[in-house]
């Protein structure tokens, strides 16, 4: 296994000065796989190290950056639309994750690739919210009956919605973890302490500590770690940004305990400091160990996370990486739902869904292929 150049450069951007051309080639490929190419560009720009980027590879960074700039603009527009759609419902709307970082103008937004917009609303308002969104063009994205049941009945969530014109995806939550999960951070508390935004009435972002905890929970609790390193970089960025405020670390620890999220916080502080050099004060690091699992579990988690938090690129895999990722995938589902739902769900996901997909394929007799993709890619990109 060759080295994880991405983490190396993130830890110590100045190290790029000693990279060979072949290493730049590998760095770009690893970073692209991890969706961190634009973020790397941002760090190199901030640290005034762009002069060390070899001329023949520079365009990869700039091109990736251009995409994220466009994504951010797109999210800003999307949030305005959501605001207008939900204005009449009159409930607080909390922006989560990337959308929050962008709208709040945080450094964590720079170089970020955005997929969906996530929002949180009070549970009682879900029906009204869904209706208001429906009136404004958002329709359900998952038409599979099983998926609908999975979201609504079992997980007590709204399935992701897609805007019929803009094709953008909106995830409406009422809590940061599903009701069936083993941890129960109180959404009411999260909403009470949320911070209002200046120019949009009734739209909020989480308080700093909650932003961090949400990010940590998503990564270390219920996330599938598809983009583990990218999410870790998010966390690192949030921690560095908020640690500039007095008393932040203490508030973070206290809040974690209050919200039953001491375990994810422990992992967050452990892995960000080890892998990305996040400057977590020693005493805080020690105190966070109250969230530590037992020795065996801690060892196992290290084995899994140290592998899964590397770029998902061939150059960063060893013989156990595949197994590690699979185990974390199972774990994330285990933590999200009770056993009696979990096994059938996993069976469905791994066996039945692909089979079903094959069936649909045969019916449609419409193998999406490259030529069609090329034909479609211009109109696709337009929208």
């Amino acid at each position: 296994m060759k080295s994880d150049l991405v983490s190396m450069v993130l830890r110590q951007p100045a190290d790029v000065q000693s990279l060979t051309l072949q290493q730049w080639d590998l760095l770009i490929r690893q970073a692209r796989k991890s969706q961190l190419l634009a973020r790397l560009y941002y760090y190199l720009k901030e640290e005034e190290l762009l002069q060390y980027v070899p001329e023949q590879v520079g365009w990869h960074f700039e091109a990736a950056w251009a995409v994220t700039v466009r994504h951010a603009e797109s999210v800003q527009w999307e949030v305005k639309k959501i605001y207008r759609a939900l204005f009449s419902v009159g409930v607080p709307v909390v922006l989560l994750k990337g959308a929050a970082y962008v709208v709040a103008g945080m450094p964590s937004a720079a170089g970020r690739v955005f997929a969906d917009v996530d929002i949180m609303v009070p549970k009682g308002a879900l029906e009204d919210v869904e209706r208001a969104l429906g009136r404004n063009g958002w329709v359900t994205a998952h038409h599979d009956e099983y998926d609908q049941r999975y979201y609504r009945t079992w997980m007590h969530e709204l399935p992701p919605l897609k805007h019929f014109k803009r094709q953008t995806v909106l995830d409406v939550h009422h809590a940061i973890l599903p009701e069936t999960a083993r941890l129960h951070p109180d959404p009411h508390k999260l909403m009470m302490d949320a911070v209002p935004l200046d120019d949009m009435e009734d739209v909020y972002v989480f308080a700093p500590e909650d932003m961090v905890l949400h990010s940590a929970t998503h990564l270390f609790h219920d996330g599938e770690l598809e983009h583990g390193l990218r999410d870790l970089v998010d966390l690192d960025s949030l921690l560095r940004h908020f640690s500039q405020t007095d008393g932040f670390w203490e508030r973070l620890l206290d809040r974690a305990v209050e919200m039953e999220l001491a375990r994810p916080l422990y992992y967050a502080l452990r892995y960000t400091s080890h892998l990305l050099g996040t400057p977590v004060p020693n005493d805080i690091q020690s105190k966070s160990r109250q969230g530590e699992p037992n020795v065996m579990m801690a060892w196992l988690m290290d084995q899994l996370f140290y592998r899964a938090l590397k770029p998902d690129h061939a150059s960063c895999r060893d013989s156990f990486t595949g197994l590690a990722r699979w185990m974390l995938y199972i774990r994330s589902h285990y933590l999200r739902m009770p056993m009696h739902l979990l096994i059938p769900h996993l069976l469905y996901k791994s066996f039945i869904t692909p089979y079903k997909e094959r069936q649909l394929e045969k019916q449609a007799q419409n193998q999406p292929n490259l030529a069609e993709f090329l034909k479609d890619v211009a109109p696709e990109n337009r929208k």
Binding site: R70, S74, Q76, W77, K80, R84, K165
Partner: protein
């Protein structure tokens, strides 16, 4: 709602750029905020520029476009025609009724 009291405005957050060549019926409008590009008629372009300045009701717009007789003929300076144009612009997300 067909109330003539509704005020229309540019879609909130929209920043528009206009370009057109020649004396033709249509020009290009680019919405910097959404990244969308549209071909609009001269009439549509004028409405957008008016609404860019300030929100207006249909009646106010009918009055304003009297300044552009070469684009809005006498026959066209009425509520029905204006309504049609506004519906078209709303469909492509360039304008919206004001919330309040």
């Amino acid at each position: 709602m067909r109330s003539t009291k509704i005020k229309y405005q540019l879609a909130s957050g929209a920043v528009l750029k206009f370009v057109s060549w020649g004396e033709e019926e249509a020009g290009v409008v680019y919405n910097v905020s959404s990244g969308d590009t549209h071909l609009v008629t001269k009439a549509g372009e004028i409405l957008l520029q008016l609404l860019q300045k300030k929100p207006q009701t249909i009646l106010q717009l009918v009055d304003e476009v009297a300044r552009f007789p070469e684009v809005f003929t006498d026959d066209e300076r009425n509520i029905e025609t204006m309504q049609e144009l506004l519906v078209g612009l709303k469909r492509i997300d360039l304008i919206e009724p004001t919330i309040i």
